[in-house]
Symmetry: C2
């Protein structure tokens, strides 16, 4: 598979997070010659919030984690790539329990203090005996700086590991937030899966983490789309060790605590960073596209219109062809089903006014549109002329490589 | 563009419909060397019902027709290919009026007795002076057997003309229903457009035609998808001349008239025939796929799940690759947002049981699935294990040719 043209020249370097140690190894779950198992150990007192796929066919690991959130006691996180443990019935639940029991023994905690995520092939039984015996070695090897190893171990068809970090202050004390993610790269027979894990040394109560996490995913992970498909495994976890308390950080127990402002902003920023990395590593992506919708009846309507544009195969193939085909944007606005005033509709490609008042802009020059489309990062902005609702989402183009990656017979 | 592998060896031959004459010509609206303008003349007394795109950015011709439906007086139908007259503002409305006026003069009727449909490029002004002068010749040339010419003239990137006919009896009198359609083939810069026109010699009141039409599109034209995009121009018209009254056919003025049963069934049948022809000529299509969902909470839920499967890029690329990737079917069921019992879910490819009770069927053999996928017509059946709701929709696969057709720069 071709490397994404957006591959960072250099991976982000992540600082330690007090109370977090991790390691990864080659367990041979499906892939060979690459790491596919990550263990993260968390100090006592670590709290967690998390959000998960809305799929009605969620994986066994998602069921397990969802039932535990928010949590005031998380001691370990085990993530494997190569097998999603989805649509595996009772055997799937047993595999999760066996993994949690194995990790609990090593971390000296209860099984319910272990979180689990799996990504990879769907419908094949995940045999925990193939990798659980590796957890002991991983625990012994865990360090505070193996972020890049961890990010690599959770990849499926991602073409680069995804890491990001931010600093924030809570009540004057510096706090770290590190994030690892994998994207919706999927190769036969893998599923699209978005996994993202955030680790902070802040001291924040579980319910507050839960609300911070739910709040932050809206304009970040929930504002991106590669192909409109939804995985059985999508998981975002926010884990707070409280390690910064030793440096004087206060314990935050209310979601509306004003001291959280900087932290919430940094969390949004690190999530947006990783969400963009996921889109840029979308299967076959050659363009990174921001879709901005303004003038909608309300923000939710703007979001629906923006996703109608971002998911339209006709818009996405035009982007792949560097075709300034604004007619397809009009079509996508029309099909979204939300109020749009056809006769006031306006469209911009970057700063270029393409259409206004429901017609092509008299000053628009097709060759200028074509020139703009050659950029690798694009902005499509639409004003639907109804009210003040707005939304921004991100997507990539739909290329021959997407078809090649996904039409190849699994073998 | 490659000819669809489903191209009929021989076009359907359509009989005359009493009260209907038509002709087509090369007006050079956009294409050269092919017919692109159709005129249909209808005897006095012709009634019509119609359904149209739900797009919020509908074309000027759609606005015009929608306002006239149902109608007790239609004398002419003008259809052009090459320019959709969509997103053309006030100029678009003027073009429709000018066309209606020109046709009205020739048909010696009011402009409001003329119906109009346009398909082709969006956002470019349609200049009616380029073709209105051709209507006189078309009227003179109109015959009762030019169905194939008409079907050819309304094509955009369709690779074959789409015609179908059925016979029915109303109160013992034989009735004809002829249908012409064009599909959602679209080439840069054309829009996906579905146009379908039905002509019958039955004597049926406008409101009844309207309700027959609305009823019949649900499980036919509204149950197909190529790429989930919605055109600004979708139009289905049902035109009844009443010509069969001379042979003793009764005038039907109530939608619940039991004498309509055979007609309604024939109408559904001819609509389904043309709907399937459209899918089989979907851009780049190499597979024709029936998706059947059973066991849903209700029929609407089944329909939503069926469309989630039929529109999923991951399912459609797997079909293109002849990959029996049932995991992607599970994913699509999960993302539909309707109730599904993951642990009772069952999937069949044709007669082949693939999954049951939320796991792969123990007797399923991957090589049998792979062999089934080599068929050009496929059935995917899913039981979601909740209640008795069911739905059937039709789609095609997503191939490299779809990308090639739609990513090419408009020039």
């Amino acid at each position: 598979m071709a490397q994404s043209p957006f591959t960072p020249k250099k991976s982000a370097e992540l600082p330690p997070v007090a109370g977090v140690r991790l390691a990864a190894c080659e367990a041979g779950i499906r892939y060979s010659g690459r790491k596919d198992l990550m263990l993260v150990l968390l100090d006592a007192g670590t709290c967690a919030g998390g959000v998960f796929t809305r799929s009605k066919t969620a994986s066994a690991a998602v069921d397990w984690c969802r039932a535990l959130m928010p949590s005031a006691a998380v001691r370990a996180l085990v993530v494997n790539a190569g097998n999603a443990n989805a649509f595996t019935g009772m055997k799937g639940r047993e595999a999760v329990e066996a993994t949690a029991n194995a990790a609990a023994k090593i971390a000296e905690c209860a099984a319910t203090e272990v979180l689990i995520a799996s990504t990879g092939v769907i419908g094949e039984a995940l045999d925990p005996t193939k990798f659980c015996h590796r957890l002991t070695d991983l625990a012994a090897a865990a360090t505070d700086d193996a972020w890049s190893d961890g990010a690599s171990a959770i990849m499926t068809t991602d073409t680069y590991p995804k890491l990001a970090t931010r600093k924030a202050e809570i009540d004057g004390v510096e706090i770290v937030i590190n994030g690892l993610a994998k994207g919706s790269g999927m190769i036969a027979p893998d599923m699209a899966t978005m996994l993202a894990f955030f680790f902070t040394d802040a001291a924040i109560a579980p319910e507050v983490l839960q609300s911070l996490c739910a709040e932050a995913v809206g304009p970040t992970f929930n504002a991106i789309t590669i192909d409109g498909d939804t995985s059985t495994s999508d998981t975002v976890l926010l884990l707070a060790t409280g390690g910064a308390a030793a440096r004087g950080a206060p314990h935050i127990s209310a979601a509306d605590d004003p001291r959280l402002a900087g932290f919430a902003e940094a969390l949004s920023s690190v999530m947006r960073d990783l969400a963009h990395q996921i889109v840029k590593d979308g299967e076959g992506a050659s363009k990174f596209v921001e879709v901005v919708v303004e003038g909608a009846e309300h923000d939710a309507a703007a979001r629906k219109i923006a996703f109608a544009i971002a998911n339209s195969p006709l818009v996405k193939t035009a982007l792949a062809g560097e075709d300034p085909n604004w007619g397809r944007v009009v079509m996508a606005v029309g099909k979204a089903g939300e109020e749009a005033n056809r006769d006031k509709l306006a469209i911009w490609f970057g700063d270029l006014a393409v259409a206004r008042d429901g017609e092509v802009d008299p000053d628009y020059q097709e060759n200028e549109g074509a020139r703009y489309m050659k950029n690798s990062e694009l902005v499509i902005r639409v004003d639907v002329g109804v009210a003040a609702g707005q939304a921004t989402v991100w997507t990539c183009d739909l290329t021959h490589d997407y078809i090649s990656i996904n039409a190849d017979y699994r073998s």
